[in-house]
Amino acid sequence: MGLVVNMKKTLQGFTLDVQWEVEKEIVVLFGSSGAGKSLTLQLIAGLDVPDKGKIVCNGITLFDSSTNVNVPVQRRKSGYVFQNLALFPHMTVWNNIAYGGKGLAKNDLHKKLIRLIEEFQMKGYENKYPNELSGGQKQRVALARALIGEPSVLLLDEPFSALDNLLRVQMRGFLKEIHKEFKIPVVLVTHDLAEACNVADKIVVYGIGNVLQSGKPVDVCKYPLTPEVAALVNVIEEK
């Protein structure tokens, strides 16, 4: 069980045509900007519709063009953390996280909120607004909001790119812990190679709209299949 992605989408002259699958592990989509990594996340979440293909998450078909299945975004249960985090500026930390707990009974929601806020080290900040938080705190609130509804997949669009190095390292560790706890497929988009190698169970290297190579980070870095992959991962070789 995990995530199976096989889709094709043409958008303003750009064609995305990718196939890959992961178990309940952390997969990193790695590649230069404009490769279609973010678009892949949007298609998995249901924010946009592929022209053709199939998306299956934990055995549930979310999209299948051959049988006309297209589960609407609201019912896909994907935890999505946007590049700019998309915290609601008019809501407190508490209300931002609670917003993700739609459908939970009031009591459950309250208990979960308290536990998550504790776990995500946001205690004492419940009544603060996003613009009063540091970068790392905003990240944690965005993650908590995405996770409180117990999503079946976690999609992260370069969420750590705006952080300084130390915080980024901390957040990576934090992400690994979260993954152990929630046991769901995590798709992380990045063009930071160190990040990719550090957190990934599996790495999928994107060319412009296609998959160049996928596998364990060590293998991809040591044995790039094409010159393009080699060029993308050569930073590590030099080290």
Binding site: L47, Q74, S78, H90, Y99, K102
Partner: protein
């Protein structure tokens, strides 16, 4: 004098409530949806800003007058005609001020960060809930500014009101109409007082609108 002031406030307040009820959904649809008739509706809704209010009022008479396209049926069924009532003044104020609301609110809704709306969708909320909990609350500054401008426009409404509601002393003579009557009758001191009151009120409204849109 006091009657005209209270009437103006009542007419403008009621008109502004309807401006909010009608203007927000229309602004939302124009801001968020792409459909064929969109530009056409947009142009049509801006018309009252450009036309002389007397022309807008003329159309309203054709529409709502006792023999009007719609007014005829209202009169047949209920025996009521809106002409020469404070309701007519309210309708006239609504029509000339609603474009201001739609313009301002639409711009505010369009400027809401799209990723916030998408985030709400991924968290399980449909379009209506997202509009109510995210999009419209985040556009509230523009919506409030639009409402204040609409109220100000309604307070100053003259031409369309004159056409549809007439200038009936003690019934439909809002402040601008009363000023006209005083001046026409040569009652300059009364006209003076009311002009000063209207000017001060307008200044206060503009001040409030500016503060709200800057906050």
């Amino acid at each position: 004098m006091a009657f005209s002031m209270l009437l103006s406030l009542k007419v403008s307040a009621v008109a502004t409530i309807f401006v909010l009820i009608f203007g927000i959904p229309v602004a939302y649809v124009l801001a968020m949806k792409r459909f064929k008739a969109r530009e056409l509706i947009d142009v049509f809704l801006m018309l009252p800003l450009v036309l002389p209010p007397t022309v807008t009022g003329y159309y309203l008479v054709i529409l709502l007058g006792r023999h009007g396209i719609i007014g005829r049926y209202i009169y047949e069924w209920t025996g009521f005609s809106i002409m020469f009532t404070w309701h007519a003044a309210t309708v006239a104020s609504f029509v000339v001020s609603v474009p201001l609301m739609i313009r301002t609110a639409r711009a505010a809704i369009e400027s809401v960060d799209k990723s916030l709306i998408m985030a709400s969708y991924t968290l399980g909320y449909g379009e209506v809930m997202t509009a109510l909990k995210v999009t419209i609350p985040l556009a509230r500054r523009g919506i409030i500014a639009g409402a204040v401008l609409s109220f100000a426009r309604a307070i100053g409404e003259f031409g369309a009101t004159l056409m549809l509601a007439g200038n009936v002393p003690g019934k439909t003579d809002t402040m601008p109409l009363a000023i006209y009557s005083f001046a026409a009758a040569g009652q300059w001191s009364e006209a003076n007082n009311m002009v000063i009151i209207l000017t001060v009120m307008s200044l206060a409204i503009i001040y409030v609108a500016n503060r709200l849109s800057r906050q």
